[in-house]
């Protein structure tokens, strides 16, 4: 019976062991000295932002994903689904933002099933910050979390080290200063929806135009009580231009001097055969 009680107790106390194991770092440093180059993380080099307006939250993002100075993805999706009423924009390493938001989305769904209630933005926030803090900033995910729940509209930023801010307007990513300049100039409390969408669009456009890490289109997600509207894209800023000329060669460019009939394989006859002994 002692054994059974101990088991029951152990099952209840589950301590989440924290963070990354850095056991391979010395080995990696040695490998790098040998000349082996490790692949660089694909970053989103981004402009993301959010505002709280009269009826809810508007989230905006650009759609460029960069790997070094090459654009990996011209139209990636940076506004991630967390719950029906909660969405999260992600800047930083693309894989980190994708998997972190997916993990929290899954936990929020389980929580919703457990409690029988619609999830709250603050729950997602707690999960995100406690997760990211455990990894001490090594998970490079800078997020703008927004949604509308029973307590009203909510908008937060989460930094890679796990700190959070609660603000009426937020921007993150490499284009955040350009976007923030637009907000600081024109943000007002209790804006109308069209005003808020236009403001967010202008902020993302400022990032797209002035920041080299951001580009392509503006995506917007509007979250109101009870409904969400996803505009993907809200506005196409950078469009691939039409090719000026046709580079294909017209049929007949190469002069055919001689034609030979192609012999089908079945027409060949085996004349001599030598099977090799194994």
């Amino acid at each position: 019976s002692n054994f059974i009680i101990k088991q029951w107790y152990q099952r209840r106390v589950v301590i989440t062991a924290g963070g990354f194991s850095f056991d391979n770092c010395r080995r990696n440093a040695f490998m790098e000295k040998q000349g082996i180059t490790f692949p660089t993380a694909r970053k989103t080099g981004t402009t993301i932002c959010g505002v709280i307006y009269k009826d809810g939250v508007v989230l905006g993002a650009d759609t460029r994903a960069t790997g070094g100075s090459i654009v990996c993805d011209l139209n990636c999706e940076k506004i991630h689904y967390i719950a029906d009423n909660i969405y999260c924009c992600g800047a930083g390493t693309a894989a980190d933002t994708e998997f972190t938001t997916r993990m929290v989305s899954s936990k929020m769904e389980l929580l919703k099933l457990r409690t029988g209630r619609e999830g709250r933005v603050i729950s997602a926030l707690r999960m995100l910050k406690q997760y990211l803090f455990r990894y001490q900033g090594y998970i490079s995910a800078a997020l703008v979390l927004g949604g509308v729940d029973v307590t009203g509209p909510a908008l937060y930023t989460v930094y890679p080290h796990g700190s959070t801010d609660k603000l009426p307007y937020v921007t993150m990513g490499s284009g955040s200063l350009a976007a923030m300049s637009v907000f600081e100039d024109r943000y007002k409390l209790n804006m109308e929806e069209e005003e808020a969408k236009a403001l967010v669009c202008d902020a993302i456009k400022a990032g797209i135009i002035n920041d080299l890490g951001s580009g392509s289109n503006v995506d917007i997600t509007v979250i109101r009580k009870g409904e969400v509207e996803v505009f993907r894209p809200y506005q196409v800023v950078c469009q691939k231009s039409q090719r000026q000329g046709d580079y294909t060669f017209p049929r007949g460019t190469t002069v055919v001097t001689n034609t030979t009939e192609m012999v089908p394989f079945s027409a060949l006859q085996v004349t001599d055969e030598e099977v090799m002994e194994l």
């Binding site: 603050i122 926030l125 707690r126 910050k129 937060y156 700190s163 959070t164 801010d165 609660k166 603000l167 009426p168 200063l177 350009a178 923030m180 300049s181 637009v182 600081e184 100039d185 943000y187 409390l189 202008d202 400022a206 135009i209 002035n210």
Partner: protein, 245 residues
């Protein structure tokens, strides 16, 4: 911003012969000025800078002049080390005096001053002893056309419609570019209004800024630097109870 240390030991140490190390320059700006902004319109050029000289994170000198009227055709604005800017101002003042002494009524125009600054700054960088400044040159050429130029501490120099240094290039330049794109036939008064908006946002977001600035104008009629003024700021956002979650 230069401290040259010559570490040569002439047989001083017990285990030394005569060894002389190369001359080293310790490079860091000490008293610094933050962003300088400039817009060139068809009517004239407008340039703006605040009146703060920061000593690291200390707002030490709150009433310095970072805009200088070189002559009737040019105003320059200095970002970066203030001592190096004062050195350049002294040289430019002497140049203007030299022009006057010649007595033919011709003074160096903005492109000439821009070019001169570019040569000086690039030459200093080549000697690994830079003047730690970014200068914005606002003025007009001999034909009276507005001119706006930028020169860096490494000698990067160009001419543009909108120009900003430091933090201003991240925060103010997007706003200035948008204003110029929407209204290319902007006048001097409208440009001043745009710069005031930019300076307000810079005061919100640049830690090393001050809400006290001067605006200089070079147009057909006037070349002047205004008295220091402030922008109206709205901190009511902070009134909402916030916290971090």
């Amino acid at each position: 911003a230069v401290v040259s240390t010559q570490s040569g030991h002439y047989g001083r140490g017990k285990d030394e012969g005569t060894t002389v190390s190369p001359k080293k320059h310790t490079m860091q700006p000490i008293v610094t000025g933050t962003s300088v902004l400039g817009i060139r319109t068809k009517e004239g050029v407008v340039i703006a800078a605040d009146t703060l000289g920061s000593y690291g994170s200390l707002a030490r000198f709150r009433d310095i002049q970072r805009l200088m009227k070189v002559n009737d055709s040019t105003i320059i604005g200095g970002f970066g080390d203030y001592a190096d800017f004062q050195f350049l101002m002294k040289l430019l003042r002497q140049q203007t005096i030299d022009d006057e002494v010649v007595g033919d009524g011709v003074y160096r125009d903005a492109p000439a001053i821009h070019n001169w600054l570019r040569c000086v700054l690039y030459n200093r960088r080549t000697k690994f002893n830079p003047l730690w400044n970014t200068i914005v040159v606002a003025g007009k050429n001999y034909g009276g056309e507005p001119y706006l130029g930028y020169v860096d501490k490494i000698g990067v120099a160009f001419e543009e419609k909108t120009v900003a240094t430091g933090f201003g290039s991240y925060i103010a330049l997007p706003m200035m570019r948008k204003a110029m794109d929407e209204n290319p036939d902007m006048g001097v008064e409208e440009a001043k209004a745009v710069l005031k908006r930019c300076l307000r946002v810079l005061f919100y977001r640049d830690c090393r800024s001050l809400n006290r600035f001067q605006i200089g104008v070079v147009s057909a009629g006037e070349t002047s630097i205004s008295e220091p003024m402030s922008a109206d700021t709205d901190w009511s956002i902070g009134a909402n109870p916030s916290g971090y979650e």
